[in-house]
Symmetry: D3
Subunit: 165 residues, 6 copies
Amino acid sequence: MSDDQFTHLDSSGQAQMVDVTDKAVTQRVAVAQARVRMQPATLAMIQDQRHPKGDVLATARIAGIQAAKKTWDLIPLCHPLMLTKVTVNIEPEGDDALRIETLCKLSGTTGVEMEALTAASVAALTLYDMCKAVDRGMVIESVCLLEKQGGRSGHYQRVNEQEEK
Amino acid sequence: MSDDQFTHLDSSGQAQMVDVTDKAVTQRVAVAQARVRMQPATLAMIQDQRHPKGDVLATARIAGIQAAKKTWDLIPLCHPLMLTKVTVNIEPEGDDALRIETLCKLSGTTGVEMEALTAASVAALTLYDMCKAVDRGMVIESVCLLEKQGGRSGHYQRVNEQEEK
Amino acid sequence: MSDDQFTHLDSSGQAQMVDVTDKAVTQRVAVAQARVRMQPATLAMIQDQRHPKGDVLATARIAGIQAAKKTWDLIPLCHPLMLTKVTVNIEPEGDDALRIETLCKLSGTTGVEMEALTAASVAALTLYDMCKAVDRGMVIESVCLLEKQGGRSGHYQRVNEQEEK
Amino acid sequence: MSDDQFTHLDSSGQAQMVDVTDKAVTQRVAVAQARVRMQPATLAMIQDQRHPKGDVLATARIAGIQAAKKTWDLIPLCHPLMLTKVTVNIEPEGDDALRIETLCKLSGTTGVEMEALTAASVAALTLYDMCKAVDRGMVIESVCLLEKQGGRSGHYQRVNEQEEK
Amino acid sequence: MSDDQFTHLDSSGQAQMVDVTDKAVTQRVAVAQARVRMQPATLAMIQDQRHPKGDVLATARIAGIQAAKKTWDLIPLCHPLMLTKVTVNIEPEGDDALRIETLCKLSGTTGVEMEALTAASVAALTLYDMCKAVDRGMVIESVCLLEKQGGRSGHYQRVNEQEEK
Amino acid sequence: MSDDQFTHLDSSGQAQMVDVTDKAVTQRVAVAQARVRMQPATLAMIQDQRHPKGDVLATARIAGIQAAKKTWDLIPLCHPLMLTKVTVNIEPEGDDALRIETLCKLSGTTGVEMEALTAASVAALTLYDMCKAVDRGMVIESVCLLEKQGGRSGHYQRVNEQEEK
C-alpha cells in the first residue's frame, strides 16, 4: 500500500479529476492482463479458426486497442491522454483459457495502467461476445496490472503470480 | 454448449454483424457480475467513505450504467440497442472484496448479456481507478453471466457458483 | 410538483436507470429554449454575417442537432433513444440576445425533454464559442422546458414566461 | 470587446478550426458557473438526500467532469485538448437554487473556457434530469465565464456579478 | 432525379433533422461500394498477408462495421437508428484494386444508405491507413450506392456501372 | 513505394498501434481531397441555396472538421492526436461536381494524412446525405492525399493529377 488517501476524492469526499498539470513528463509504460476461461472445446474451435483466416482473435485485438484509446471516456476520472503505443496479445493457456496481455505507452504526466487494464477487459469481453453462442459460461478472470514504469511512484512489478488468481 | 458455430463469423471465417432483423421482439433481461479483490485496508477505507459522502461507489455505479449504453461501440460486432433499464449494485463481500451485480433489460431482438457484462467490467475498472493510489495490486475476478431471459435460447441460470471462481 | 420522489434514485438513494420497458409507446414531443445575452455590437456582427454566408448560426444549429442525439451519452441516467425529428431555430431577441428554440420528437417509451434541453444548451455554448473572441462576457440564460406532450404525465406547457427569467 | 472579428470564420465567412500550432504553450485556467433555479421543496429534497448517500450531486459532478473531456466533440470548432484538472462544485444558494462552479486547467496552446462552460452546463442539465419528475419548471441560468488565465489575452475576471443575471 | 427539394433544409434553407415519426416501419436494405486503387505490389503484399494471419482485411472489415453504427454521429442530419445487420466484404479486383461491398439492414422508418456508404468509406480509409507506409498514392474511388430496398421510394438499383467511374 | 512492410502489423501479422513515443515532434501538415460527382441540376440547386443562407455546404464543412477530430476513433490503428488546425473547403468543379479540399495540421510525432482524408470523406458523405433525396446516383471519387509535410519521410506532393482519376 503506497499511499493513504484516495486521490480522486477531494477533502470532502467529492469526486474530482486530479491536477496533473505540473507533474513531470516522463515515458510511461503499463502492462496488464486478463484471462478468459472457457470449455476446452471452445478453445479448440477458436484455434481451428485461427490458422486459415480467423477473425476471432483479430476482432478482440482491435477492440482492445480501440478501447485503450477510449479509457478517458469510460472511466470518469481518467485524464484524456495521447497513447503512443498499444499492443494486445492473445495466447492460449492450457487447454481451457485464452490469456490477453496488453501494453500501453506514452510520454506524459499520468500513468497508463487504466488504459492497459481497459484494453485487456474489452478484448476479453469481445472474445466472450464472439464465442458466447457456443459457450455462455465463460468467465473473465485475473484482470490485473503486471508492470508499470515511469512517474513518481517508480517501477512496479507484480511479484506473486498467485495473487492474481 | 448450446450451438456449434461462431455466429459472428460467416462461412469463410470473416467477422460480420449477424442479421437479427427477423428475430422475435421479446423482453430480454441479463444479470452479470464482477468482483474486485483488494487489501482489507482498502475495503475499510471505501466503507469509511461510504457513509458521509462517498463518491467512490457512486462514481463506479454511474460508470457502469454509462458503459452499458456504449456496449455497441466497444464490442465490434454487438448490435446497437435501446436499453430500457440498467442497474449496478456494489456490495462488500467478506473483508477483501467488492462484488458488482448488474442488470440490463430491453424489449428487442437481441440479448443484453454483453451490456450487463460490460457494465460490470467498467464499474470494476472504475473502482480500480478510484483506489489504485492506495492498492495497485487489486484484481478483477469472476466476470460472468449469472442469468439471461428472453429470446430463442430461453432461460439461462448459472448453476455452479464454483465455476466462476 | 407532480410527484414526490426522485425517480433516478432507488430506495437506498443510489443512482439507477429507471425501467421503462413496459411504458406505453406514444408520440412524444418536447420544446425547450435558451437565450444568449450579448453586447449589441456582437449581435450586430452576427446579423451582418448572416445574410451573405454566415456559418455562425448554421454551426450552432448543427451542434444543437448533434447534441440532441448524444444526450444519452452526456446525461448519465438518460435512456438511449431514437429521435425521429430535431429542429433548432435561432432568432434575435431585442438588440442584445439570440433566442434558441429546439424541438425533439419520437415515438417511444420515454420523454424527450432532456434531448430538447441539451440541444438548446449546446447550441448556446456553440454561439458562445463562435463569438467569444469579440465578447467574452456573454451569458447563457433561461434554459428551460417550454412544452411537453405524450406519456403518462400528459401535456405540460410553461405558463409564466417570467418564471424563466 | 477585445477584438473585432470572429476567429472561427475565415475571410469569406466559412467555419474553420483556427490554427493554434504556433501559439505559446502556457498554463491555462478557466472558471465558469451555472445556476439551477428550482422550487424550494425540490432543493430541500436534494439536501435531505445529500447527507446519507445522495447520488444526485455525485451524478451531476461526474457528468460535468466527463462533459469537459468531450467539449471538442460537442462544440464543432473547439480544438481537442488534454485537460490536466477538472473540478465541479455544487452548492445550494438561497433556498431555491443550486450553483455550480467548474474549473478546468491545462498546459497548452488554447484556452479552456469552453470546457469549463460545458462542464457547468452539463452538470446543470444532469441536475434537471435527476429532479425533473418532481419539478419540471426548473430553469438553468447565468451560465457564464468567471475567470480565465493564461494565453495572449491575459487575465480575465468577471467584474459585475449583476451582469450575469 | 426523384424529387425537387433538399429534405434536410427547411423552407428558409436551414439545416434540420427531418420528421420521420410517422413514416412506415418497413424492412430496409442498402448495398454500397468503394474501391481502393493501389500499386500492384501493394495488393500482392496484402494477398500474401491474407492467407496465414492477415489482420489487414479483418481490421478494415471491423472498422467498416463499427463506422456503420456511428453514422448518426458522423453525418449531422442522419437519424439515430438500430441496424440489425451489417456486412463488409473486401475482394481484390484486377491486379491493382480492392473492392469493398457493404450491406446494411434494419426494420425502421428511415433508409440505411448512409450507413452502407459510411461503412464502405471507413473500410477504405482503414485499408489506406494499413498500407500507407508502402503506398502513399492509393486512391479511394467509386464510393456509391448500388441498391436500396424498402421505404416509400421503392427499389433502387444502380443501372450503369460506368456511371460510378 | 517508400518502404517494404506494413507498419501496422507485427512480425506475426497481428494488428498493433505502432510505437511513436520516440519519434521527433515536428510540425506536420497534410492536404487531401475528395470529389462528389452529381447531376448538373443538383449542383445548380446547391449553388442557388448557397447565396442566401445555404446550410448545405456549411453542414458538410462542419461534418468534415468534426470527423477529422474523431479519426483516432474511426480508424482502428490511428493514434489519438491533438489537431491544431483543420480547414475544409468546398468548391464547384465544372458543372457536375463539388471538390472538397481539406488541410490538417499539428505539432506532434505522427502524420495527419488520415485526419485530412477522413475529413474529406465525411464531408463528401454529408454532401451525399444532404442531396440524396434529389440525386441518389452521386459518386464520391478521387479521395486521395495531395501533400504531406513533416516527419521522417519528408515532403510528399502528388505529382500526377491523372493518377487520382
